[in-house]
């Protein structure tokens, strides 16, 4: 119950913010009867109304994970964000091995197999991408290339 109420309120707030920013859209000097604002505002309005409905008539609560699992998910997100930033400057192999190891460990917390999975995926996928699919991947950080 509570989850849906929160969700509905959040949706409504976001929708209202969306409508507010839609009203700021610069109107074109080349006028068409609808213009660039109307449709976004319409979408925002439908979303806001639906949000209110969900808040007023919530479904049953889903089973949320316990706090520790939430922690694990947040770690996963941080790792993935870090991976996104690292891929370009650090090359493919090192960030991939690290990220894959951490994710693997999070799904099944056994250190040895996780490291093997990480290294294996990093090397294996690199060869598949680079040589089978011909993608222009960089293996290592630019510094190491000399």
């Amino acid at each position: 119950m509570a989850s849906d109420r929160v969700f509905g309120v959040v949706v409504t707030m976001v929708a209202l913010a969306y409508i507010a920013s839609a009203t700021q859209i610069q109107a074109s000097f080349l006028a068409d009867p609808v213009g660039p604002k109307a449709f976004p505002i319409l979408i925002g309005a439908v979303a806001a109304i639906s949000g209110i409905i969900v808040a007023l008539r919530p479904d049953e609560d889903p089973k949320w994970p316990e706090l520790r699992t939430f922690g694990a998910l947040i770690i996963a997100i941080v790792v993935l964000v870090g991976y996104a930033y690292a891929l370009k400057p650090m090359g493919f192999l090192i960030p991939t091995a690290i990220t894959a190891t951490i994710l693997s460990w999070q799904i099944n917390p056994r250190t040895g197999p996780a490291i093997v999975a990480g290294l294996g995926l990093s090397l294996g996928l690199f060869f598949v991408f680079k040589y089978a699919l011909g993608l222009g991947l960089v293996a290592l950080p630019a510094v190491l290339h000399g």
Partner: protein, 321 residues
């Protein structure tokens, strides 16, 4: 500010493209594979190599973004003295330049080498339409400008929109903004809308209507060229019907600005060789292009003229201020 945006967008786009082999000429198609610019690069590049105008195969790079603006910024800012670089261009390039759609960059920041083929502009109605000539259509619009609508494959203010407006302007219609136009996803869609009766006429390129012409769905009221198009000799030009409008979607190239005149002339020559080749004649025939060869200095002045005309027209209808 916007210029910085282009630069930044660009840096992300060119990363991963990798270094080009030295000396091999490169042709940038400022769009994804499959479109007209991609065709220009691949065909011209291939023929240049096949006929020996260049020594190594031409490498084609696709750099889509901002309707060609990304590639334009790339050339202007980063490769302005690269003698081995050519970029595919068409009427869309000059239209956008004229309308300031490339973040303030102007047509004189590159050198237009030449065009070696063109897709003639056409004004088309459904086969069962009451309008038999371009004059009929223009008269009907004069009588009630807000009543009839055109459909075309380019966005509002794009080249397909401007074509009928040029005709109407020559005919003395004063309020061009009242003329309705909807831009749909490509010429075929525009024809479907017209045949379905949702719009009165379609404005587009010859290649877009050929299939529908064969199936008998449409009638071409006028072709916007100086002479009738070979193979379609029964279709009158707009000029014959008293409307002095020439509007073709040419296919050509530009190169960076800071190359030497010798380099410019070398590219012009190479392009001329392609234009004269049998391979190019075949490629044109297969893709519905009409001969349209303007190379070198000639072409540069043609581009300047077109840009000026489109700018005036666009200001008049309010696409730009």
């Amino acid at each position: 500010m916007t210029k910085r945006l282009f630069k930044a967008l660009l840096t992300s786009a060119v990363l991963g493209l990798g270094a080009t082999a030295a000396n091999a000429a490169e042709c940038i198609a400022p769009a994804n594979p499959g479109g007209g610019w991609d065709f220009t690069c691949r065909q011209i590049g291939k023929i240049m190599y096949d006929i020996g105008a260049v020594e190594q195969p031409v490498q084609v790079t696709n750099m889509a973004g901002a309707g060609g603006g990304l590639a334009y910024a790339h050339v202007v800012n980063e490769r302005s003295d690269d003698a081995d670089l050519m970029i595919a261009a068409s009427s869309a390039t000059t239209t956008r330049l004229a309308q300031n759609a490339f973040a303030g960059m102007t047509a004189d920041q590159v050198r237009f080498v030449g065009a070696i083929g063109a897709d003639p502009g056409v004004i088309v109605v459904a086969a069962d339409s009451e309008y038999q000539t371009l004059g009929d259509l223009v008269d009907a619009i004069k009588a009630s400008p807000g009543e009839l609508a055109f459909a075309g494959g380019s966005a509002v203010g794009g080249f397909d929109h401007l074509k009928p407006l040029m005709v109407l302007q020559r005919a003395g219609v004063s309020d061009l903004t009242a003329v309705k136009y909807i831009g749909v996803d490509g010429g075929a869609d525009a024809i479907t809308q017209t045949v379905g009766g949702f719009t009165a006429a379609m404005s587009g390129d010859m290649s877009e209507v050929v299939g529908f012409l064969k199936s008998g769905d449409v009638r071409v009221l006028a072709v916007l060229t100086e002479e009738r198009v070979p193979g379609f000799d029964d279709i009158p030009t707009a000029q014959e019907q008293g409307f002095d409008v020439v509007a073709v979607n040419w296919r050509g190239l530009y190169i960076p600005k800071d190359v030497s005149d010798d380099t410019f002339n070398m590219w012009a020559e190479r392009l001329q060789m392609v234009a004269d080749s049998d391979e190019w004649q075949e490629a044109m025939a297969a893709n519905g292009l009409a001969p349209f060869t303007k190379v070198g200095g000639d072409f540069q002045s043609y581009v300047d003229e077109v840009v000026a005309e489109i700018r005036t027209m666009s200001q008049e209808i309010g696409v730009i201020q």
